[in-house]
Symmetry: C2
Subunit: 150 residues, 2 copies
């Protein structure tokens, strides 16, 4: 069969993450969830995604434990989609993508939305990759250890 390749059995955590999130739409749904969207219609208007796609993505995100479907907070009979702890743990991923985009996907001076901390209203500090003992490391300072199956 010619199904899209899955990585859910890969030993590489990057590949598994990629597989768990599903596709780019899913990531943008998660982004919107961080930004406060909860209702089907909110995601749909914000993303401009087709409703059948959104339905499918919300379902897989819920199935994957990234989102959770809960009763609407306004007391209506509708449901809302909120991030689980597992979903909230994607925060550094979103921040990393955001910072990369700001640096490399906009022409200088081109306006873009900005993520700021609520207290001071100032942009976040760029993410730093640190070794266990706190030194900054860049790609060349690292190596992947492939664990043998136990």
């Amino acid at each position: 069969m010619v199904t899209r390749t899955r990585f859910d059995d890969s030993e590489c955590p990057v590949a598994r993450s990629v597989d768990a999130i599903g596709d780019w739409w899913s990531l943008l749904i998660v982004r919107d969830a961080f930004d406060g969207s909860r209702r089907f219609g909110e995601f749909q208007r914000s993303l401009g995604v087709a409703k059948n796609i959104l339905t499918a993505r919300l379902r897989t995100l819920v199935a994957g434990g990234v989102l959770e479907s809960v009763p609407a907070s306004d007391g209506s009979a509708y449901r809302e989609y909120v991030l689980t702890p597992k979903g909230k743990a994607l925060f550094p991923v979103i921040v990393a993508l955001r910072q990369w985009g700001e640096q490399h996907a906009f022409t200088p001076g081109e306006p873009h939305s900005e993520l700021v901390d609520r207290r001071r209203e100032r942009p976040l500090r760029p993410l730093e990759v640190l070794s266990a003992d706190g030194r900054r490391v860049d790609p060349d300072d690292t190596v992947v250890h492939k664990l043998p199956a136990r």
Copy 2:
């Protein structure tokens, strides 16, 4: 026409990043590049991706300035694909996905590959999202500022 939706004009840097990278294969190609892969065949064997897909992805990554095609380092007439500075800047994205995958996409004790710093052979410190003044922030402490077009 029914083309896949593009985000290259979005004002959100997350969406632009998503668009610039292209798809999950591209991200895994970048991961392999961080891990030392340079040649077409290396990527192909490592990923198990179809060659026509790999060809297309390498082309768009080069066109997007993430990879660069350079003469082979062993003096042969073939070419190699190496990360540009823009590509290397994706390091925190890969690390964030890797750490999320380690935490949330493996059952406890299940073996997985590991990214360690070369000097001490120890895993990296988990990424922390920090405010400008150095406080740790979590999603609820942040808000997205949508800039008006200037």
